[in-house]
Symmetry: C2
Subunit: 324 residues, 2 copies
C-alpha cells in the first residue's frame, strides 16, 4: 500500500487528490502552508484513520524532510499559482515554484523516496505558434515568470531522474474546474452575481478562449499515469503529459452556462479589448494525444465542469468569505 | 558610448570580453566574486581609464544593484560552470545560475537597464536525438542540473522581455577554448605532461566527441548579435543563438595536436569506456545555421584553438598553481 505525500494538500487540486487517494486505500500525508489552502477542504479526510495533516512550508527544508518520513511517493502540487501578479513580485514564482521544488527533491533524497508526480503548467509553452500544442513542440521561449518557474521545476525533476534515478510524471495543463475551485472567472462571476444579479462586469470582450478540464478527470489522468509507472533508461524515467479536454470555450459561452444555472439574465458590461488584463494568458490549448493513447479520456465537457463549479459554489458560500 | 556591466568579469570568457569591449571604446564595469575568476586576467584592463573592477557576488542583491548604476548594458556571464559536480551540491547550480540571474534582472530593473546578453549552455538540449541541434529543436527533457539551472535563467530573462520590455540575446554553446582557458581536457593534459612527459592518463577510450569554439570567434559572435540589437514585438525581443564551429573532434585527435605542439610522444593510458566520467556529457553538437545566417562565421578551426590554448598555457604557467 502506498504512503503518499501531497504538497499543497489543502488546496483545490491537492485536497481533491487526498480524498481520492484515501478512497483508493492509500495512506496520505497532506502538507500545506495554508497560504491559500483551506482546512475545510480536508474535513472529510481528517476523519480517515490513514490521513495525516502537517502544516508546513516548502521553504523550510528541515520540517519538510521530517514530514516526508516513511512516505514512498510524492505528489508535488503546492505552487504559487497566480499567473496574473507574477510581475508584481518577480521572486515569488521562483521561490515558491522552483526553490520549493528543489527542497522537495532534496527531502525525497534524504528519505530515500524516488517517485514523484509534478503539477506543471501549459504556460511552459510560452506563446507557441503550434495550437494545439504537443509535448514535443519546438523549444519554447518563456513569456511568463510562472511558466519559467514551473519549467525550472520540471528541469530540476528530470535532472534528478538522470542523476539520482528518480522516476517522475510531469503534467502540463491549463485550468482545472470543479468542486473546491475558488478562483478564476467562474468564481468571480458567481461572486458578482450574488452581489448584483442584474449586471455582470466582464474583462475584455468575452471572446477570450479558455481551455478547462474537470478535477475528477484530471485526477484520473494523474493516477492513471502514476499506476502505469515509468521504467527503462533515464530519459524515459521522466514522463511528461499534457492534460486537457478536446475542446475549449469562450468566456461568453461560460457566462451563458453560469447564468442559466443561476436562472439570471444580467446585463453584460464588457470592458472591451481582446485580453482580460495586461499580460493575460494568450490562448493555450494543449494537444492531448499522448495521454489519450494510454487509454485515458475525460468524462465531463467544459460546460458540465462549469456547471458543477457553480453548483459547488452555491452549496459552499463560506468559500467566498474565505477568499476575501 | 556603451557602459557595459560584465558579471563574471574576471573569468575566462568574462575577462576576454572586458578587453574586447575596452578595445571597442566602451566603458566597462567588471563584477566578479573571484570564486574562480583571476585578477591577473584583468591586468591589462586595469591600466585602462574606462575600466572599473568591483568585487561582489550575484547573491548580494544590494551590492549588485549599486555596482550596476549608470550602466546601460549587462553581459551576464557569471556562472557555476562545473557540470561535472552538479550532483554533489544540487543547490549550487540553482543558486549561482538561476537565483543569481533573477538578482541580475532585478538589479537591472532597479537601474532602468533593459538590455542583456546571457551565456547559457548547449546542455539545455538535454540528450536530444537531433544532432546537430537547432535552437527550435523539440522541447527537450533536462538531464543535468547545470542545463536545468541555465534553462531556468533563460526563462526568467525571456519573461522579463515579455513583462518588462527587456531585450535579450541568449547564447547556447558547448565549450570555448583559447587564451585564459584553465580547465577542461586541454588544461588537464598539459598539466599531466608537465609533470610526467612520458605518459598521459586519459579518461574513457579517447573516442569521446567534443565540440569547441575559439574565444575570439565566440566574442565576435556575441558582439555581432548585440550590435544588431533586437526589436519588434515581445517574442522577438528574446533572441536565442547557438554558437559553435562546423566541426567536432575526438579526444584522441586533440591529444595528437597537444603532443605535437609540445614535441612529446607520451604513452597513452586509456581508462576505457565510452564516457570520461559518470554523467559525462553525451555528445553535444549544435546547429549554428541561425547565427551564420547573420553573417558571422568562426575564423579558427578546433585544431587551431587547441594549439592556441596550449601555447597560452606554456606562457602562463602561473595559472596551473592558481587552479590547484
Amino acid at each position: 500500500m502506498m504512503r503518499a505525500f501531497v504538497t499543497g494538500g489543502a488546496g483545490f487540486i491537492g485536497s481533491s487528490l487526498v480524498d481520492r487517494l484515501l478512497a483508493d486505500g492509500c495512506e496520505v500525508v497532506a502538507w500545506d502552508n495554508f497560504s491559500t489552502g483551506q482546512e475545510r477542504f480536508l474535513a472529510q479526510a481528517k476523519r480517515h484513520p490513514a490521513f495525516q495533516l502537517v502544516c508546513g512550508d516548502n521553504l523550510d527544508p528541515t520540517a519538510l524532510t521530517q514530514a516526508m518520513a516513511d512516505c514512498d511517493f510524492v505528489f508535488h502540487f503546492a505552487a504559487h499559482a497566480d499567473v496574473r501578479f507574477g510581475l508584481t513580485h518577480p521572486d515569488r514564482d521562483l521561490r515558491q515554484n522552483t526553490i520549493a521544488t528543489l527542497n522537495v527533491l532534496e527531502a525525497m533524497r534524504a528519505n530515500g523516496i524516488q517517485r514523484i508526480a509534478f503539477a506543471s503548467t501549459g504556460s511552459v509553452y510560452g506563446e507557441t505558434d503550434i495550437i494545439p500544442t504537443p509535448e514535443n513542440a519546438p523549444f519554447p521561449v518563456q513569456t511568463s515568470l510562472h511558466g519559467a518557474s514551473k519549467l525550472a521545476g520540471e528541469g530540476l525533476i528530470s535532472a534528478y531522474c538522470e542523476g539520482f534515478g528518480f522516476e517522475a510524471s510531469i503534467f502540463r495543463f491549463v485550468s482545472i474546474l470543479g468542486e473546491r475551485y475558488a478562483h478564476g472567472h467562474v468564481f468571480d462571476f458567481y461572486k458578482q452575481l450574488l452581489a448584483h444579479p442584474d449586471y455582470l462586469d466582464v474583462l475584455g470582450d468575452g471572446s477570450q478562449r479558455k481551455s478547462y478540464l474537470y478535477i475528477g478527470d484530471y485526477l484520473e489522468a494523474v493516477l492513471h499515469v502514476v499506476r502505469a509507472g515509468t521504467a527503462g533508461e533515464a530519459k524515459h524515467r521522466t514522463q511528461i503529459y499534457n492534460l486537457g479536454t478536446f475542446d475549449y470555450c469562450q468566456v461568453k459561452n461560460s457566462i451563458v452556462w453560469i447564468c442559466e444555472r443561476l436562472g439570471l439574465k444580467p446585463e453584460l458590461r464588457f470592458s472591451g479589448g481582446k485580453r482580460g488584463w495586461v499580460g493575460d494568458s494568450p490562448f493555450i490549448f494543449l494537444d492531448t494525444a499522448k495521454i489519450r493513447a494510454t487509454g485515458w479520456q475525460p468524462m465531463l465537457s467544459i460546460q458540465q465542469s462549469v456547471v458543477r463549479t457553480v453548483e459547488w459554489l452555491m452549496e459552499n458560500q463560506w468559500v467566498l468569505a474565505a477568499r476575501e
